[in-house]
Amino acid sequence: MLLLYLDANSGSLIAQVAVAGFAGAAVAAKLSWRRASERLRRNRAPGDPEAQADGEKRGS
């Protein structure tokens, strides 16, 4: 992981996705897809075996 002495601020990093224009659009799409699928997983019942398996995968 790149450690920098300067705190760039999360918002300033995300803002560049919009600045990057077309190149950023693909990134934005992937980010939204990931957020959407995460929310979908969380909406499943806690006892759901699929949800548990996913949780284990993320934790590794």
């Binding site: 002495y5 990093l13 190149a23």
Partner: protein, 482 residues
């Protein structure tokens, strides 16, 4: 001295590996980055590097962009210095040497054109570096200095290998470059007090509040101010996790380059037309005859050619004629004037004439740059920087004494502390321009007289030459401090 060919900067560097004994003097402005620290010793500028810093430097020095940029004078000349571990001190793993900068200045002393040129250079270098997988850790306007009217990037340690993700320096770039430029371009508000008042620059949130509805349609405003401010407020998550999330989502070199290109597009569009002021039209409205101007020029030329100064300060230089005359005999002339528009016009004319050793600055001598930053030593004030060998004080005295209300004895004392040799023009109270200034004052300024001036001068200086101009109301003095 017109310089049309760009010299190879590396040749100018001393290649001697021996470091003078002693720890050297750490640069008071170089302490935030744990991987590098600038040290001054024996007139040389050295930089200590940690293991990480050294590996970053190795990566940078192997790129073709670095070599090209140094040769073109856009990046400061830097070479390795061989020295044993014992010579480095604890925790340091490497040493490099930088070409010194003739006179250090700060963004709140630059003109709009200079700040814009600096911004463009920073982005262009970043773009070239990215092509070889190198990025910069920050986007600070203080990464740059000036050689005459050419900007040069000096913070070599800012370069680091690129591992994906967006630019860490984007916010700093917006706050120290883009926002001040927009303030000037959109609103015609001088950015100098803002940058002098806060080294970190104009905050994104503040810039957002300053924008009028009309400004929102200007190029760059929506993305870099409005959206940026919104996301800065709303975004959660730590910076490292956000950066890796974006990198994982595919924000790579292409997206970085696209960001830099967009910023460059905005910087190149921003423009400022200096308003005509009393000072910008001074060359035509002043009361000098052509003969007087020629005589003044000859006087300055004679003093400068015999003094052969290393550093000249031209105070209140107006159209820069005399600064250029002195520049023919000096290594470096720093020309200071308080009127932003005037300095901007001089900057442009120096660039088009390709004059290499005159540096124009926006400075109010009655309120010069103070020492700023951590311990008020991080960014030394104007009067803490190297003093000139020759100071030109032409048609300035009456401004300090009458307009700024500074007692004449104090002005003369101050001049004596500045330089060994001074060229001073004393303008009598009967001169039309001075009479005009006095007419606006209820205070009589009784101490402003030729007799008083000569009396004060005699306290500190020997008068080596004196010449009265044909108008009869102005006299030139060549003074040497005792």
């Amino acid at each position: 001295m017109a310089k049309s060919a760009v010299p190879d900067r590396r040749i100018g560097l001393a290649m001697t590996p021996e470091i003078p004994a002693g720890p050297g003097c750490p640069d008071e402005g170089s302490f935030r980055d744990p991987d590098s620290q600038v040290v001054h010793t024996g007139g040389r500028v050295l930089r200590r590097l940690s293991e990480t810093g050294r590996s970053d430097w190795d990566a940078l020095s192997r790129t073709t962009f670095f070599e090209r940029a140094v040769a073109a004078g856009r990046l400061v000349g830097t070479v390795d210095v061989a020295v044993g571990r014992e010579g480095l001190g604890d925790g340091w793993a490497g040493l490099v040497e930088h070409e010194p900068i003739p006179f250090v200045t700060y963004p709140f002393e630059w003109t709009f054109g200079m700040l814009a040129a600096g911004a463009a250079l920073h982005l262009e270098l970043l773009r070239e570096a990215l092509a070889e997988d190198i990025t910069t850790k920050d986007g600070y306007a203080y990464n740059l200095q000036w050689r005459g009217v050419e900007p040069v990037f000096i913070d070599i340690s800012s370069f680091t290998p690129y591992h994906g993700g967006p630019w860490a320096g984007y916010r700093q770039f917006c706050e120290t470059f883009l926002n001040p430029l927009m303030l000037q371009s959109f609103m015609n508000v001088d950015f100098h007090p803002w940058l002098r008042g806060r080294l970190e620059g104009i905050p994104v949130q503040h810039m957002r509040r300053l924008l009028s509805p009309r400004d929102l349609v200007r190029r760059g405003a929506l993305r870099h101010v409005v959206l940026h401010a919104l996301l800065e407020r709303k975004a959660h998550g730590t910076t490292p996790s956000t950066r890796s999330a974006l990198a994982d989502a595919g924000f790579g070199r292409d997206a970085m380059i696209a960001t830099v290109d967009k910023l460059l597009g905005v910087v190149r569009t921003l423009s400022w037309r200096p308003e005509a002021s009393t000072w910008t039209s001074y060359a035509t409205t002043n009361t000098y005859s052509g003969e007087d101007r020629a005589e003044k020029l000859r006087f300055v030329d004679r003093v400068a050619s015999s003094a052969r100064p290393h550093l000249v300060w031209d105070l209140g230089y107006n159209d820069g004629t005399y600064a250029r005359a002195a520049a023919r005999h000096a290594s470096q002339v720093v020309a200071m004037d308080a009127d932003h528009a005037t300095v901007e016009l001089l900057y442009r004319s120096l660039r088009s004439a390709r004059v290499g050793n005159v540096l124009p600055l926006v400075v109010d001598l009655a309120d010069p740059s103070p020492s700023l930053g951590w311990r008020n030593r991080e960014r030394p004030g104007l009067l803490e920087r190297p003093r000139p060998d020759l100071v030109l004080c032409l048609a300035l005295l009456h401004h300090l004494a009458i307009v700024a209300n500074i007692p004449l004895p104090q002005v003369v004392e101050w001049l004596a502390g500045l330089a060994e040799v001074a060229v001073v023009e004393f303008v009598d109270r009967h001169d039309p321009m001075v009479a005009q200034l006095l007419a606006n004052k209820s205070v009589a300024h009784a101490d402003y007289s030729l007799a008083r001036f000569q009396h004060e001068v005699a306290e500190y200086f020997d008068v080596e030459a004196r010449e009265e101009l044909s108008s009869g109301t102005r006299a030139l003095y060549a003074l040497r401090r005792r």
